[in-house]
Symmetry: C2
Subunit: 227 residues, 2 copies
DNA sequence: TGTACATCAGTGAACGCGCGTTCACTGATGTAC
DNA sequence: TGTACATCAGTGAACGCGCGTTCACTGATGTAC
């Protein structure tokens, strides 16, 4: 019996998933800051100390949840974007992305809050969360650069283009160096607007102001289209 | 001695402020979810039960903090916007608003997280927080409608204008009924982008991507200008 | 102005609860000969 | 194939801590006559 399929290994994998699922469910009732190892243990029916056989600390549990949620979101959004058959329809691809992000957020509001809401106090996300985290904004960037545009930013309010160019170095390195600042800014503005719009909706800032969030979001996303 | 200036009344007012200041300072180290009555009491040098002479519960303390923070933010933003002498320079007024919001957010990141980050679990904001909360978005709305524009929304992606119009009823009622959907959407998109951009920055989503947040924000705000 | 009473701020103990993490342990699963 | 040993999952008790809120109380401040 190979190590990875032994009864122990199978049970371990199973239970790891069960613990994570329970933790994620707990997120939905209590928020990430109050996520508790003991409550998770209670939920999966083991003693609290046993959870430490699976996760060395509460922070590692949170890290795993972050990776899972970022990955799940990214996969749904990537699938939605890839489903747009006319690849030259960049507006349609944008709408697919925007809609998929919001659909996921509405379906998993607490997970969304974990990813894009206030940071968990006393918790610092390790590097391994970065890669899954940048997949969705990377998709927006890819959409914009697909247009082949490499034009610089067209400044309106006295923005120093050289300084802006230097400020965006990190993003260029992430995405490949042939990016103009104009497309990068278009993508970032669209991404900011998307996150802002969803946050305003989910965090209750539109209560009594907007009655029909679906059409509202459609109209916002329409105006945010980067391409 | 009138009731409002008696030694007792003075001491009460003073201590109320001290307690709130301590609570707000505690926000900055621990996040709103972990704000603790006992820690505040310890900080101001009284026994935990004594705080209940001033605030009937922890939730009331949070409510007061919300009102204080919303009000402080609104006052700074209103002052910055009012300082733009050329009232026809709507781009300049927008920039004043955007910059003032971000300046306050950067100076008080935990307060910003309290207002625009994830909601505090188990806490429902009462009505009295609404009025101070809408002052800043109201300013953006006012800026847009100052242009006198009452045009409908110009749809790009098959958006039903009637349905959108109905969805925005609450906002129209709040701001006065002569608003076209076009200006309302322009204001909301700008406001969404503003909140999104600041949240991405403060909540750490641009780490290693953007090096110089000042110029980045200036460029984003420039592109978000609603007027 | 002085006294008797009412109001209120702050105390200290208690209730009942939760948390993350460690540690020595039992007993089952896996491995090497 | 069978036995001896090593690995590991899960237990239960404990450490030391924190929390929100209540309650009977003391003693100071305010008020009415």
């Amino acid at each position: 019996v190979s190590a990875s399929t032994s009864a122990r290994a199978i049970a371990r994998e199973q239970l790891t998933r069960t613990i994570l699922a329970s933790a994620r469910a707990q997120l939905g009732t209590v928020g990430p800051a109050a996520l508790s190892v003991r409550a998770v243990a209670r939920d999966v029916g083991m003693v609290s100390s046993a959870v430490y056989r699976y996760f060395p600390s509460r922070d590692d549990l949170i890290t795993e949840l972050l990776v899972i949620c970022y990955t799940e979101l990214a996969e749904e959004v990537e699938a939605a974007e890839a489903a747009v058959t006319d690849r030259s329809d960049r507006r349609g691809r944008w709408w697919a992305i925007a809609r998929a992000v919001r659909d996921w957020a509405v379906a998993h509001p607490y997970d969304y809050a974990l990813l894009y809401g206030s940071p968990v106090p006393g918790y610092a996300a390790p590097r391994r969360t970065v890669e899954p985290a940048v997949r969705v904004p990377g998709l927006v960037l890819g959409l914009v650069t697909d247009g082949g545009g490499s034009e610089p930013d067209q400044p309106g309010h006295a923005i120093d283009p050289d300084r802006l160019h230097r400020a965006l170095r990190g993003i260029r390195e992430f995405a490949g160096a042939e990016l103009g600042d104009g497309p990068v800014m278009r993508a970032l503005v669209a991404w900011s607007g998307l996150v802002g719009a969803i946050s305003l909706e989910l965090f209750g800032h539109l209560t009594n102001g907007v009655d029909d969030y679906d059409i509202w979001f459609a109209a916002v996303a329409d105006r945010l289209a980067p391409a």
